[in-house]
Structure formats: structure tokens, C-alpha cells
């Protein structure tokens, strides 16, 4: 391809070079021809005119000179003659000048011009002779020379004739030149025609060459290319088809591989799930194959390989002989295998396997191969064992239970209504409780055994047997004369079981207890009424005592004071002290009495239980106490619930407890009092915790008693009735109070309130007589 290209370009270059050279040569020839034609034409064009003009001008000048001469001859004055002479000299110069021009332009022979010149010279010399004659004063002679037919005109005619010759030649020459020019034109045309013909020829040749050198190879190349393309396309198509086929094959292979893997995986999963392993035994070669699950099942290493001996040794020694015999028989007789064996596993673990297999025969009918599956059936064995044990237990229970137990079959009438039932089985307790003997009643119906059986029994049991609804009832059997507590349930449709107890005795005892209880309740009511009355009396007594104690006390205090005033300045220091002591004593006693009265009041008033928000009560109380405490106390108030109780009394409880907490933290730098509540066992338990003086748990019992104090009056003021009040109020609400503490380690006071209002409703005087 490359060599061809080179050749082609060289050819092209050579061809184009040749065309260029030829074109240049032809152009040059044409150019020269044109040049010549042009010159010829120029000459042709200019020659007659130049010649004519020169001749005519010269002729005119000659003519003018003749006129000049005549004038000269006619004129007298010297000055005029001089002017004519000058003009004549100019004309003469013109003649000479045009003769010189003719020399240059005239194409004819020079002799023609020379002839004219010599004639002219002759003419001039005649004129000069005349001049000389004139000068010599021979005027008439001079004039004669110039009259027509004189010397001068004759000479002039001669000169003019010579000139005409030149004109004639010029005309003839012009014709000739025209002809020549026509010839040249014809020649030029011919040459041009030749030139164009040559150009055309060359173009044609060049085109042909070009066609041959470029187009044809190109066309061939194109054809070749197309052919090759077609070929390539064909090849590509084939290749694509091939690729498609291969892809399909690959996909199929992959799919099959996937399926195989899946199958394998599935098989593996199935084996794992079923705790099973597969085996295959070539009887001829003795070659045994196990799946890895089987190795695992038998507790053997896969690397140890599968052998019949290995299998046999995996079987429990007690089963080994049987396994060997069975397998041998199967291999010889070609019968299918299905046996269960225990395994001998490391660690003494007891497992069971089932071996199932079949035998393949060769064309001769001889067993050649066995294959099958080993399945771990331990769980099934265990379940079977459990069922057996359960049945055993049930049987024991059945035999030994104290309740009577019987299974029955329902008998229905034509309308499908329960009509009777048959005894299927009864336990020993049944015999004891009913006095019926098992042997006498099994297979018989209840109406056969006890014709007096009430319809209600049959109907109730019928419902159990038909609907599956359980039955629990107490019923009296008139037929047996006993009261029974009965449970009945359906075993299967139409059959039911009955367990029962003879409750005749228990019933009797219950009735007795009920009677006793009724009496007891009556007594309790009476006693309670008594106690309430006594309590009331006691309260009234307390109130009355407190009330009556106040009057004398006031008197003592009052008169002591009056005494002090009456004595005035006369009273000694000591006496004044005594009076002070009396004053203080009475004051304190008054206080005690007030509290005692308060306490008595607390015990008496009716409770008006309402829903009370403990949180709000605590917050109000804390606000009051914070105002009066006169120091910073850190209050921690938890979430407190609403309770049911007497709002006024509960407020009193909180006031007492919180006042106590404030009081006993007085000596602490940072008092901290915490109120919290929790719900426990149907009670709301409220705790008031402080970090104050605390108390000795030894004396905890005294805390809630009237006028009992664990601290001296000097240490902490108080009368010792607040906590007694708390206890009384909470007790009346059906709650409890208790406390925990340590000396110097703070104290916690708890009270509980029932979440369902269980507060007492105590009769008060104004509501008296409501009790009957």
C-alpha cells in the first residue's frame, strides 16, 4: 500500500510538472506572436499617417517659402523684406525637420528622401541666387526667375514630384502592411487554436491520468474496503452470536451451580435441623461414605474416616450385637433397614439414633449397595419417656387421690338431649365416697345403678359433655343422701370426667361456724357500743376536769399578782421570786390544761372525710412555719398525693410534725426538713425527715404518749402532746404512726393513711340515737 502511494504521488507530480512546462512554452509562443502582431499593426496603423503628414507639412512649408519669395520680390521696403526672409528661414527649417522625420519613419528606400532633399537643396540654391541678383539690383532678372515657367517654379515642381513619390509609396506600403497584418492575425488565431487544442488535449490526458492514477485506485480501494467491511461485519456477527451463546451457557452454569449450592445448603440445613446424617455403603468394595452431619452425630472426627467398625463402635455396647446382626442380615438378604440404637458417646451422654436404609441390587439381583439416613431421636425418646412417666404419675394419682374420680360417656335420647350416662372408669376414692363397687358399675348407666338420680345431675353433665364448658358446683345427691362438691370437664366430645368430694361434713361444720360467728358479731357490737359509751364518758370527764382545773388556777395566778401589786415596794426580793415561781407554775399548768383540752377535743369531734391535697396542706404549713422560724431551713417537698380525710385534723397533724421538725433542728447550722410520700400495700405513707436533735430509739414507744417528752423543757420547749394528737388523729383515720431516729442524728416521723377511706365514723352527741 505504501509503495503504491509513492508511485501514485510521483506520477501525479510528473504529470502536473509536464502540464505546467507545456503550458508555459505555449504561452510564451502565443505571447511572442501577439507581440509581433501588435508591432505590425502599430506600424500598419502609423506609417501612412506619419508619412503623409511629414510630406504634406514639408509641402506646405515649401509652398510658404514660394509665397515668401514672391512677397520678397514684391516688397520694396527693406524692413519688410527682412521679416519675409526670417519667415522664410523658419519655413526652410520646417522642411528640413520633416525630411528628417521622414528619415526615421519612412519605410521606403532612403533614396526617395535624398531625392527630395537634393531637389530642395537645388531649390534653395536657386532662391539664394535670386537673392544675390536682388542684392546686385537686378530686380527684373530676379523676378523672371520666379514667374511660372521660371527656374524656381520648375525646380519646385521637381521637388514636389519627388515628394509625391514618397506619398505614393506610403499608400502602397499601407496596403501591403494591411495584408501582412491580416496574415499575422490568421497565424495568431491558428496558433491560439493550436494552443487551446493542446491545453484541452493535455487536460484530457491529465484527467485521464488522474482518473487512472487516483480515482480508479480509489474506487478499487473503496470496493475493497466495502468488501472487507462486509467481511468484518459478518465476523463480528458471528462473534456476537458466539458470545451470546457462551454467556447463556455461563448463566446456566451459574444457575445450576447456585441450585446445587442451594440444594447442598438445604440438605445440610435439613440434616442439621433433623439432627440427621446420610450414609452410603458400597457392599462390593466396602467403601463407606458419611456426611459431616453423621460424623457429628456419632461424635467422631471427620478426618478419621468412615468405616463400618467405627460405626459399630459408636453404638452402645448393649445394642452393638443386635446392630451387627441386623445389618448383616440386611446386607445379605437385601432387605430394608429400620432400627433404633443407643449411642456410646464420650462423657457418658445417652443419645438415641434411628437408622433407616435400603439396599440396591445389581442386574444379577445381588445386593450391591446400601444407603440411608441416621436420625437423632433422643428428644422423641425423652418425650416418650416423659409421657410414660406422666401416665404413670397420673395412674398413681388416680389410684391414690382422695377425691372421687370417674370418667363417663353421655347417653342422649332421640332429640339429642342428655338422658343418661355410662360409667367408664372410677378410682378407689370413688368407691369409698359413694359406697359403690367398681366391678358392679363399670359399663352400666347411672340410672341403672342409682335409679333415683336427679335429672339436674344428668343435665349439668350433659352440658359439659356437649359444650365442653367446665362445671363446678355443689349439689346434693338424694340418691346417695350426701352433699358433693363437683368439678366436671370434657375429655372428648360425648365423654366427660368428674372429680368430687363429699362435703357433707364440711357443710355441717360451716353452718356451725356461721352460727357462732353471728353470736360473736352480736357480742362484739354490744361490747363496741359499751366501749364507745365509756370512751365518750372519759372524754367528757377529761374535758370537764380540764375545764374545772382552769378556774382555781386562774385564781392562784390572779391573786398572786394582786398580792404582788398590793405589797408593792414592800415586797422582799425573795418573796417576789416566790410570786414569780407561782406565776410561771400557773402559766405552765394553764398551758398543759389547754393542750389536754385540745387533745380531748381531737378525740371527740366527728370526722368529716373529704378529698384532701396533702401537697397543698404541706406547702401552706411550710409557708407559715418559714415565716416564724426566723432562720433558713432547707425544705425538700416531694410529690404528695391527695388523700381522703378530715382536712382540719390532717392540717393539725402536719402542723405538729413540721413544727416538731423545725423545733428540733433549731440548734443545727443548716436545718433540712424533707416531706415525702409513697404508696405501699394500699396505704399512703408520709414521712417527715429532719436532721435535728433526733432521739434514742430506746424511748421510741414514749414518743406518741400524752405528756411524754424525750427532751427537757430547757432544751426544747413543749408540753409533749403534739405527737399524741398526731397519733390520735391518724388512728382515727384508720392509719398508723411510727418514728425512727438516733440521738443527734435526726428523726423521721411516719404516718400512713388507708388509700380507701376507712376512717371511723364515730357517733357524736348531736347525732346520737342513730344506732339501733
Amino acid at each position: 500500500m505504501k509503495a503504491g502511494n509513492m508511485r501514485l504521488s510521483t506520477q501525479l507530480r510528473l504529470g502536473l510538472g509536464a502540464v505546467l512546462v507545456i503550458t508555459c512554452v505555449l504561452s510564451a509562443i502565443a505571447w511572442l506572436s501577439m507581440q509581433r502582431a501588435w508591432q505590425k499593426t502599430e506600424t500598419l496603423y502609423q506609417h501612412p499617417f506619419q508619412t503623409e503628414r511629414a510630406v504634406n507639412t514639408a509641402r506646405l512649408s515649401v509652398w510658404a517659402m514660394r509665397v515668401n519669395m514672391r512677397d520678397f520680390l514684391l516688397l520694396e521696403k527693406n524692413a519688410d523684406r527682412q521679416a519675409v526672409l526670417a519667415d522664410m528661414a523658419a519655413n526652410q527649417a520646417d522642411v528640413i525637420k520633416y525630411l528628417d522625420v521622414l528619415y526615421k519613419t519612412y519605410l521606403g528606400p532612403r533614396s526617395d528622401i535624398d531625392a527630395v532633399r537634393s531637389e530642395f537643396q537645388e531649390w534653395v540654391s536657386i532662391r539664394e541666387g535670386t537673392l544675390r541678383l536682388l542684392k546686385a539690383g537686378k530686380l527684373s532678372e530676379a523676378r523672371r526667375r520666379h514667374v511660372p515657367g521660371g527656374l524656381a517654379p520648375k525646380q519646385a515642381l521637381k521637388m514636389l514630384a519627388a515628394m509625391r513619390k514618397i506619398s505614393g509609396f506610403a499608400g502602397a506600403r499601407a496596403d501591403q502592411l494591411y495584408r501582412e497584418a491580416r496574415e499575422l492575425q490568421a497565424e495568431l488565431l491558428l496558433r491560439l487554436a493550436l494552443f487551446f487544442a493542446a491545453i484541452l488535449l493535455m487536460s484530457a490526458w491529465a484527467s485521464y491520468q488522474m482518473h487512472r492514477a487516483i480515482i480508479m485506485p480509489l474506487r478499487e480501494m473503496n470496493q475493497e474496503l466495502e468488501r472487507r467491511q462486509a467481511e468484518t461485519r459478518g465476523l463480528i456477527g458471528e462473534l456476537e452470536a458466539e458470545i451470546r451463546v457462551r454467556k447463556k451457557v455461563q448463566e446456566e452454569e451459574r444457575r445450576i451451580a447456585g441450585l446445587l449450592l442451594q440444594e447442598k445448603e438445604r440438605l445440610k440445613m435439613a440434616q442439621t435441623a433433623a439432627r440427621a446424617g446420610l450414609w452410603d455403603w458400597d457392599l462390593a468394595s466396602g467403601k463407606l461414605e458419611w456426611t459431616s452431619e453423621l460424623f457429628q452425630l456419632l461424635g467422631r472426627e471427620e478426618s478419621a474416616g468412615a468405616t463400618f467398625e467405627a460405626w459399630l463402635s459408636s453404638i452402645h455396647p448393649d445394642d452393638r450385637e443386635r446392630a451387627l446382626a441386623v445389618t448383616k442380615r440386611a446386607a445379605e438378604a437385601g432387605t430394608a433397614l429400620s432400627n433404633e440404637y443407643r449411642l456410646a458417646l464420650a462423657g457418658g451422654e445417652q443419645r438415641w439414633i434411628a437408622v433407616v436404609g435400603d439396599v440396591l441390587h445389581d442386574p444379577a439381583g445381588k445386593p450391591c449397595r446400601m444407603s440411608g439416613i441416621c436420625i437423632d431421636i433422643t428428644e422423641r425418646k425423652k418425650a416418650e419417656e416423659a409421657v410414660r412417666a406422666s401416665e404413670e404419675r397420673f395412674r398413681q394419682l388416680f389410684e391414690t387421690m382422695s377425691e372421687g374420680f370417674a370418667t363417663h360417656e353421655l347417653i342422649c335420647d332421640r332429640q339429642g338431649r342428655p338422658a343418661d350416662y355410662r360409667f367408664l372408669d372410677v378410682n378407689p376414692a370413688f368407691e369409698n365416697l359413694t359406697g359403690l363397687k367398681r366391678a358392679d358399675i363399670i359399663g352400666k348407666t347411672v340410672l341403672q345403678v342409682l335409679p333415683g338420680t336427679e335429672r339436674s345431675w344428668i343435665e349439668n353433665y350433659g352440658r359439659v359433655a356437649l359444650t365442653g364448658e367446665r362445671l363446678h358446683m355443689e349439689n346434693f345427691s338424694g340418691a346417695l343422701g350426701r352433699q358433693y362438691e363437683v368439678n366436671a370437664f370434657r375429655i372428648s366430645p360425648g365423654r366427660f370426667a368428674v372429680s368430687f368430694m363429699d362435703v357433707t361434713e364440711r357443710k355441717r361444720a360451716e353452718a356451725e361456724i356461721r352460727a357462732l360467728n353471728a353470736g360473736l358479731e352480736q357480742k362484739v357490737r354490744a361490747r363496741t357500743a359499751e366501749l364507745t359509751a365509756v370512751n365518750q364518758e372519759l372524754n367528757e370527764f377529761t374535758s370537764s376536769v380540764a375545764h374545772d382545773l382552769r378556774a382555781p388556777l386562774r385564781h392562784v395566778a390572779g391573786f398572786a399578782k394582786l398580792l404582788e401589786e398590793a405589797a408593792g415596794a414592800g415586797l422582799g426580793k425573795e418573796a417576789r421570786h416566790y410570786l414569780d415561781v407561782i406565776g410561771a407554775g400557773t402559766g405552765r399548768m394553764g398551758e398543759l390544761i389547754d393542750h389536754l383540752l385540745g387533745f380531748a377535743r381531737m378525740s371527740r369531734g366527728a370526722l368529716t372525710p373529704v378529698k384532701t391535697d396533702l401537697g397543698a396542706l404541706v406547702r401552706e404549713t411550710v409557708q407559715q412555719l418559714s415565716g416564724t422560724a426566723g432562720r433558713d431551713i432547707e425544705w425538700v417537698i416531694g410529690a404528695l398525693p391527695a388523700v381522703t380525710g378530715d382536712a382540719g385534723l390532717l392540717r393539725q397533724v402536719l402542723v405538729n410534725l413540721l413544727e416538731n421538725a423545725v423545733k428540733y433542728t433549731a440548734k443545727k447550722d443548716t436545718a433540712r426538713i424533707e416531706v415525702s410520700a409513697r404508696s405501699e400495700g394500699g396505704e399512703t405513707i408520709v414521712a417527715v425527715r429532719d436532721n435535728g436533735a433526733g432521739f434514742d430509739m430506746k424511748y421510741v414507744e414514749k414518743l406518741f404518749k400524752v405528756f411524754q417528752r424525750l427532751h427537757s423543757e430547757e432544751e426544747f420547749q413543749g408540753v409533749g402532746i403534739g405527737l399524741a394528737n398526731v397519733k390520735r388523729i391518724i388512728t382515727r383515720h384508720g392509719g398508723r404512726v411510727w418514728a425512727e431516729g438516733a440521738e443527734g442524728g435526726g428523726a423521721v416521723f411516719y404516718f400512713s393513711l388507708p388509700e380507701q377511706g376507712q376512717a371511723e365514723v364515730q357517733p357524736v352527741e348531736s347525732q346520737g340515737g342513730t344506732e339501733k
Partner: protein
């Protein structure tokens, strides 16, 4: 204008003495008449028996103790308030201790005030003084019937 009387109904002589001492200390000019039980109080108010012919009109205030022989303070109160001629006379129940039932009954019967006698004499004295000043001086007495 003639000063109106104050009636004190009190059975205990010690209390009478102490009350009078307190009145004295209060520098109150109104005369204090003392009766020793409820019956006598009623006689005084109705100007009968021992008090027949008494012409100083209704007292400016009646101070009555609850526990008294014969007719007790609450009964006296009830009778006063039930009688059109006496009903407007202010009655103050004086008692040794604040007993809720007494309090309720007193007010229900129309008591104008209920005052507990403090044990401490200074406080007692102060209480009596304030009460006397209020009823005798500050309070406008009802018009005579």
C-alpha cells in the same frame, strides 16, 4: 348623762374579785353590778324580786359565766334574746375554757361575744379591760325600748 351599768353574772367569788380588780385597773367609770347566779341575773334584768324598782335601765353589757347554779349562763342568754325588751342588750359569754359545743350553743343563742378568761392575771386583766372599754365606750348601745 348618767353612766350605764355593767352587769356581771358570776357565781365564783374569787372570779368576781379578780374581775372587779381588772375593771378597777381599767379606770372605767361605769358601775359594775354583780349577780351570783342566773336566776338573780334574770331578776335584775326584769327588775323583779330583789331588784324590783331598779330604775337605771338595761345594762350597757351583760357579762355572763356559763357555769352557774340554778339557771346557767346559756339559759340566761336565751331568755334575754327571747325577750323583746332585752333582746338588743349585748351579752358577752365569759368562760373558763373554750369548749366548742359551748361556743356553738352560745352563738346560736344570740351571744354578742364569747370570751375565754386567761389563766395568767395580766392577760386576764387586759382582756377584761379591752372588753369593758369596747362595750362601754366604743360600742354604741342600742336605744332604750
Amino acid at each position: 348623762m348618767k353612766l350605764k351599768h355593767i352587769l356581771l353574772a358570776e357565781d365564783n367569788s374569787n372570779d368576781i374579785e379578780l374581775t372587779l380588780a381588772a375593771f378597777k385597773a381599767s379606770n372605767l367609770a361605769n358601775p359594775v353590778d354583780v349577780v351570783r347566779d342566773g336566776a338573780e341575773a334574770l331578776d335584775y334584768l326584769y327588775t323583779r324580786g330583789k331588784y324590783a324598782g331598779r330604775a337605771d335601765g338595761n345594762p350597757v353589757v351583760v357579762l355572763v359565766d356559763i357555769k352557774m347554779p340554778k339557771v346557767d349562763g346559756l339559759e340566761v342568754l336565751r331568755q334575754i334574746k327571747a325577750d323583746a325588751r332585752l333582746a338588743l342588750t349585748p351579752v358577752v359569754v365569759l368562760t373558763s375554757s373554750r369548749e366548742e359545743s359551748d361556743l356553738v350553743r352560745s352563738y346560736k343563742s344570740g351571744a354578742n361575744a364569747f370570751v375565754v378568761k386567761p389563766v395568767n392575771f395580766e392577760e386576764f386583766s387586759k382582756t377584761i379591760r379591752q372588753m369593758a372599754i369596747f362595750w362601754a365606750l366604743i360600742n354604741e348601745a342600742p336605744p332604750e325600748p
